[in-house]
Symmetry: D2
């Protein structure tokens, strides 16, 4: 048996909610190991255990690591980025320019023409776009992004249907968990016994990211999917898990049985290649009349599977159904991690 060395990775924005999820998900990862943690100047120089308000058991080796300044000097070549958009806008290009593979959960560059926005089950071919980045040409560094936490569950449910039946129109209304807003994020006085019918920029992100994700790579660019879309986003008093009520118009007729079978049979490159974070079954249909529900169905596929339920005819379009996805695993840290596994598999991390 040959010896195997794990790839050292860094985490930018390591002390936040998503940064902490990266550390959890990487603790026993077969390919990657955390070698470097960076955060804001306030935290730099502190042991990680002191810099973060860690909530559950902290891996001892990570607890002792000193938080680095958020600069590429001394950083490993693979960087998971969990930064706010404004900071990402400034920092991620520095790391890419320095030759790093920046696997980003931020919204800053998702819609930039030459930046791949990727879900490995949906559009792994879009990764090639990174070769058009100036950073890549100059230094082999690049930025690859994953979608917003509210878009990813939706697209996981839509992609198999789009391929098989075509997809013309999508209505979606979300009921999103507070963890999606980071920490401290949503004040308890704002959400106890309440619904907030507004999340800044979220609806626009859902609509434009969905079109790019379901679009096609032609030449050196993405052609957006021709899809009429309308999203409404709400915040509810749920800790984790985004629930979405969806109505769709397909390109061709499909029966309920065909749709459920299409979801249940959906297996793609991450499943074929057995990527470590890939859920065995990426889309799980629940036949119970009142599922999926965040409290009970969120952990399917270790938080990486998308749950769908309540498929029934729609009075306006063809079908309506409910989607549930884990917003800080499949919708954030797990999404980036699976992207990194895809990049590794495609040879971009060597």
């Amino acid at each position: 048996m040959t010896s195997f060395r794990k790839t050292p990775v860094g985490i930018l924005g390591a002390t936040g909610v998503v940064g902490q999820r990266f550390i959890q998900l990487l603790e026993h990862h077969p390919w990657f190991e955390v070698a470097w943690l960076a955060a804001s100047d306030r935290s730099a120089g502190l042991p990680y255990a002191e810099a973060t308000k860690w909530r559950t058991a902290l891996p001892a080796n990570v607890a002792r690591m000193t938080v680095s300044p958020a600069a590429p000097e001394g950083a490993p070549k693979v960087i998971f980025a969990a930064l706010d958009a404004g900071i990402a806008q400034e920092l991620e290009p520095k790391f890419a320019a320095a030759g790093c593979a920046v696997v980003s959960n931020s919204s800053a560059f998702r819609m930039q023409e030459d930046v791949p926005l990727v879900i490995p089950e949906v559009n792994p071919d879009h990764v090639r776009l990174l070769e058009t980045q100036k950073w890549f040409r100059d230094s082999k560094g690049f930025i690859v992004t994953n979608p917003n936490c509210s878009a990813i569950g939706l697209v996981m449910a839509l992609a198999p249907l789009q391929r098989k039946f075509g997809l013309e129109k999508v209505f979606v209304v979300t009921m999103q968990a507070v963890s999606g807003a980071g920490y401290p994020g949503v004040a308890s006085l704002d959400i106890l016994g309440n619904v907030i019918p507004y999340i800044a920029k979220e609806e626009q992100k859902m609509e434009e990211e969905t079109r790019k994700l379901l679009g096609s790579l032609n030449g050196s660019g993405i052609k957006d999917a021709q899809l009429a879309m309308s999203a409404q986003c709400n915040r509810v008093a749920v800790e984790d898990g985004h629930t979405e009520s969806v109505s769709i118009k397909l390109g061709t007729n499909a029966s309920a049985e065909e749709i459920v079978a299409t979801w249940s049979d959906f297996r793609e490159l991450p499943q074929e290649k057995k990527l470590p974070s890939a859920p065995p079954q990426p889309v799980i249909y629940d036949v119970a009349p009142d599922r999926p529900q965040p409290r009970f169905d969120l952990e399917r596929g270790a938080g990486m599977a998308t749950s769908v339920g309540r498929l029934r005819p729609c009075g306006i379009f063809d079908w309506k159904f409910t989607v549930l996805s884990h917003n800080t695993i499949r919708g954030a840290a797990g999404a980036a991690l699976l992207n990194a596994e895809l990049l590794k598999c495609q040879g971009y991390l060597d």
Copy 2:
């Protein structure tokens, strides 16, 4: 000054969540006074204070009233009914046959051809339908109903637009409070940290009641509004207040300013006649980007006004917006009470 005697009224199903709301709303009512309370056999014969798990201050005169059996003998001529559908199906006709005006919050007879389903601001003329009821012909008794708690806020927001611009299509996704399910209703283990994407029969009720409410009285029947509709109903961890994300296609073009003005200027018969429970402004548009919210906007118009906000263009239809309505006041006891005030004003309670 001439003396004025209040009309004695009875409450069928007096011990439940809606029954209790009736008692609150009737405590200082200028036209009606509670003279009779009925509930299931288990409660009959007990003082009301013992029969119900009353939660707030109980009017002393009501506390001492003895709960009557749920039968028309000895009941007053005006009956507010807050019964489960199955029981209403059996009991309400008995009271109507005995000559009572049954002002019902139950779903049992809402869709029956000769039963008016009424919102006084929207379709007060539908009341006339009661004259076609066999009970009315035989004994002057009748049944008049108000809509489901999820339909009423929606229709309050749609009706002014329908009149002015026409209305072709309506998508709606609800986030409904637990009080809508009565008591004990939703188990805490089912809703803490959770969303339940299912409420039995609710979507069908919303769709068919909306069409009847927005329909027109022609001859001796209601012609449903020609309206494509799709409703999805969810339960969230909110005590009171149904929030709804709505998208609509109008019959003619309308600007945001025209729509907001149409809502703000909406005044109808209950306002003109100054019915005691009518909110001065039935539809209130909130310009804040993140309102309405149940915790902060529910009590507008003493729980009888509908709040609307977030009007913005829809990527598929014309406009999307958020509606909030108090489900146990405007959506239940207050709705029935306003119906009774309308009936009184129209001479049907004399």
Copy 3:
């Protein structure tokens, strides 16, 4: 009828949770009217409606008021202060030195020897202490404080028993609402589905404030009550209302009937003088086995009454019981307002 001019008052820290409560409670106040609002430099110069994230209906005259800088120049002579302790420490003395009556809800000066810590029903005579303040001697300005939101309900329940039976030992465990921490205060990720068994400095405040409140004025100082005390403070997922489990050892024997009667009969100076914010019955005992509860009993006496329930023998001391008090009304803005009414009544605001 002689004309009557209301006393103009100012609010320091007008944009916070407690500042907003002051505005609500003063809206229709018969003696005071809001004439001046001050907040941090960030807000100064803005119309109040823009400076605050106001949640419910804002009185129109207040909405238009311009927020002043937090300095005594131009401020009225009566100031309600709703500042964080650190800022209060610096600002309140400036206002007192400038001749203002500072009626403070802050903890900054509560335990200072010459500062009255007052509940009008409990120790109105302590107010005289203000005459020993240097500010008073120099300019007639002074600082008077009300207790912490967790101490006030407890002391309202203890004071009548102390007088009648003596009081030796008090155990108390609190379950406190999130509004006690201000806004944004407690993050939703910290409290949904959770209990936080820690509130910084709260236990110490409860213990020392209780002893000062129940102490006696002798000469020119307060002699603390000789009371063994142990407090444990917890935060729970409740919007408003602090619930407390209490065990006490009295100085002499008392039956349950005597204790309940002592609470129920408790009427003091605020009730005798009919101060506008005084609840008619300051301590209300609820005989139900499972009350008081924040959701249902908080608004008694317009949020100014203390609810007590579940009196039963204690296995270690004499009696145990549950106390409920509204933390932002009786525990903050309402407490200061009642103090101001007491001061007016005593001639200190003339």
Copy 4:
């Protein structure tokens, strides 16, 4: 390697919240396997998957099992009982009389003189009491019980201190999760934004069970611990996890360091014998100032460890601290399972 056959076990009350926990915990158990499920007559004859409202993934073999009537005929010799007290009172003796080892989570027989009330880390020797049961003498059947969900975490924290320093007085106030009341249990309308300061019979159970658990076996009976105790029990809006604020008076002086060391070093028979469900460290002290908290610390030791924190001097007794325990694992199904493992280890299940 010798083959090993697992002991077949049955579950009485298999469809409830605790019954479901038994199934989860037994799914991969090395010694026991579920061979028989019984529930009320309403469920008997149905496949388990239909009889229960199962919330998470159901083991396929259990899903297909037919629910048996709740009678000893055909039942295995080891029975886990998760019944309401009233039903347990009637059914458990029938199973014991039929020769079954009834390992019960019910309160029905806990305080009966000849019934062991056992926590394996605390009083494993009390098991011997079962030999005095008439059922044991007649048929080798018996009943062994575990404590109430609110008592077990407390006693886990108290037992090591009692042994080392003696224990004289205990004050405890609980904040208990809704799952402790079973399903449907607490209505959401009763607990959202609320605290219920009452759980029927809970305070008495905590006090008397604690004394029995910490008592000593002498001759053929238990001598209760001489312990003054006072418990107050509250329900809060938490899904799982009972938090308790505790004050104690020890028999001898002990420093904070000694107390923390006593908890941290506590290892007993279940740890020595490596019983499958025994947590490696049964009592875990958390040094953070604001822990333990249910959302973040509940799963320690797979839900079988007790978390303790906030040790600090008490103004009346010696020390106060916070205890957290998982109420449906260590407080119910896991407690019974560990009892069964102890019984097996002691030879009573052969």
